[in-house]
Point group: C2
Chain length 389, copies 2
């Protein structure tokens, strides 16, 4: 199958691209490298040294004999998107190519506007390119479990049957997201559902949990195939960040009481979920939603798990929650669709977190300790035009 | 009360501004005149001749002694929005300043991206300006009944209590809008609800039905106070367009079978709804939604009403529906909140459509007959960079 991976230079996009290539698909990647520029802006870098996209692609060819075509450009440039889709003629497009940090979107007005514009416009351009060039292309779009918020009812997979005043309908699940980033994904979902309805496009919207881990079978083949590992307060996700805190001998920091429950997924399952979704496409006109996580835990439970696994001393500390969110809430979210299609989950309890500890130990001299703590506070705003540290 | 009306040069913004001024409020208006530029782009103009904003404002001062401050700028310019709000220090901001045509948003990729960017970014800038300058400002935001689509259950006012698997929650009403324009309003609603939640802003989201009519008590005072009247296939709304077809002796064109039901509201009620909403503000942190229409009718019923009222011969013709929408559907939508706050509806059956016929007759030499029929088709797309007629 011809698969185009957008954002193919990123934390998840790169491992997905080579996983799909290893599975026998004809894969191309696209990126504008803006994720590397966010690092420069924030003054941080990936814990793992990462090669350039060119080096990654040539390493992959050298090791496996498989070619990855690459397109460099911005999804907000409609001409670029159209020309790329017309040139590669994919059967599936996997869309990771978005700004994906909630704290980054909450830095200030400019970052909120950038996040929503970048994500929504890139996705719209993609929908138009598909509608113009080949309506049979299957769009596999990354969303987030954070779109749902924490409702007091069970979270279903994207759609819900509502009974109301003696009548019923199947409607899109009501969303109540927690940042301008999460909102951008909700906007995308609505736009995609509309495109399926009016143009007969086929789409799979993957509401992904918090991803942890740094390696897959394919990234482990060579250090030049390593993907990024973010631990900073803006782009680092909770479990990865806590592993670093443990290795450095810092307390694991929990936001507030840590009662917030999150869906989790191991990186090795993420790349499998994408393969499974691509190989079992949505029907023409279908807007299909899968909740892409394998287990859920409270932030406190994640900290406890890491503290228990870490061989050295390890403490847990509650800090003021920079976000506005419920710290105690009901949480029951369906996640059976991907398992029904063949996903075999890799649960945290089965994972060798030891391996993660080892990766961090290997690169711990690269950690900027000042970057770990959260700096972006949800309740504060700023329209300042010039920012300084 | 100090009220800032964004989009104050438009079809609804201008009559609202002088209605609020006449009611004793201290009113300022803002516009970037892009609505007049859409006319140039599409090669059409308002049926009613309209004065410039400067002429309107000076006429109003001449007739009433009341001053309207005016700000000229683009809401997508964050510095402009911030400076304006800081300068006028409104207690209420009424936000009409958006691209408001569904067909315009469906012309092609560029118009879809423009509509969503313009509307979402302008609204985000406004939320940030309010959060930065004065979180007590009440935002009165115009949305549309078209955000809901045509669900098979009753439409409530923005929120719905869902019972699901033995639990219940009050959630935002699930939306399924019918164009990239309608989608932009759904995106806005989600962004505003979030801003109320994290910053404690107070907002009223008005999901308005199809507006008809051309005059209010204040616009009738002088021809220089007239508001625009659009009849073209892109910006003309259904009832206004049919009145023109009747006067010109054309068949009233119904899209498809005409079974689509729409909420309707008279222009004189629109301006009253805004006054009522402003004078009874939402609570701090409250995201309040009102459905702003007074009655609903199928498109066929609207045509029948006009045909019955028109003194001359009048026929009705079904044409191919350019949109993708259900032509037969359940429709029951709540609209009691504004009545509870004091709105006295002006129903179509009580209205002197004769007056509308007279306005059209007076200006019928200005009608471009070629502009009446729909030209934008929902199922078609185009990424062409250059368009010609």
């Amino acid at each position: 199958m011809r698969i185009l991976v957008l954002g193919g230079d990123g934390y998840l996009g790169w491992p997905t691209a080579i996983h799909l290539s290893a599975a026998g698909h004809d894969v191309a990647v696209s990126d504008n490298f803006v994720r590397r520029r966010y690092d420069e802006e924030l003054g941080v870098e990936s814990l793992t040294p990462i090669a350039t996209l060119d080096e990654r692609v040539s390493t992959w060819a050298e090791l496996t004999g498989k070619t990855l075509k690459s397109y460099v450009g911005d999804l907000c440039d409609a001409r670029f998107v159209h020309a790329m889709v017309a040139d590669f003629r994919p059967e599936t497009i996997v869309h990771f190519g978005q700004q994906r940090s909630a704290p980054y979107s909450m830095i200030d007005q400019a970052h909120a506007v950038y996040t929503q514009t970048n994500n929504v416009v890139g996705n719209l351009n993609l929908l138009y390119a598909i509608a113009d060039i080949d309506r049979d292309i299957h769009l596999v779009k990354l969303g987030t479990m954070g779109e749902y918020g924490t409702p007091n009812i069970d979270i279903e997979e994207g759609w819900i049957e509502i009974n109301h005043k003696g009548r019923s309908d199947r409607v899109m699940y009501p969303k109540r997201p927690g940042s301008f980033y999460h909102l951008s994904k909700v906007h995308d979902s609505h736009n995609i559902e509309f495109a399926c309805r009016i143009w007969g496009l086929r789409a799979t919207d993957l509401n992904q949990g918090v991803v942890y881990g740094v390696d897959t079978e394919t990234t482990k083949l060579d250090p030049r195939l390593a993907t990024r590992f973010d631990y900073d307060g803006v782009f680092g996700t909770v479990l990865n960040r806590m592993v670093i805190q443990a290795v450095l001998g810092y307390p694991l920091t929990v936001y507030g009481t840590g009662g917030q429950t999150r869906g989790l997924i191991n990186l090795v399952d993420t790349v499998e979920c994408i393969r499974i979704s691509a190989e079992s496409p949505a029907d023409p006109g279908e807007f299909r939603v899968f909740n892409q996580f394998t287990e859920h835990m409270s932030v406190r439970q994640i900290a406890d798990t890491i503290a228990a696994d870490y061989p050295g001393p390890c403490t847990i500390e509650e800090i003021e929650n920079p976000r506005v969110e419920a710290e105690q809430h009901y949480y029951k979210a369906a996640h059976t669709a991907l398992v029904d299609l063949g996903l075999v989950p890799t649960l945290l309890s089965d994972t060798l977190i030891d391996h993660l500890f080892a990766v961090v130990e290997q690169h711990q001299d690269r950690v900027d300790q000042a970057a770990i703590m959260p700096t972006v506070r949800w309740r504060e705003t700023s329209s300042e035009l010039v920012r300084s540290k």
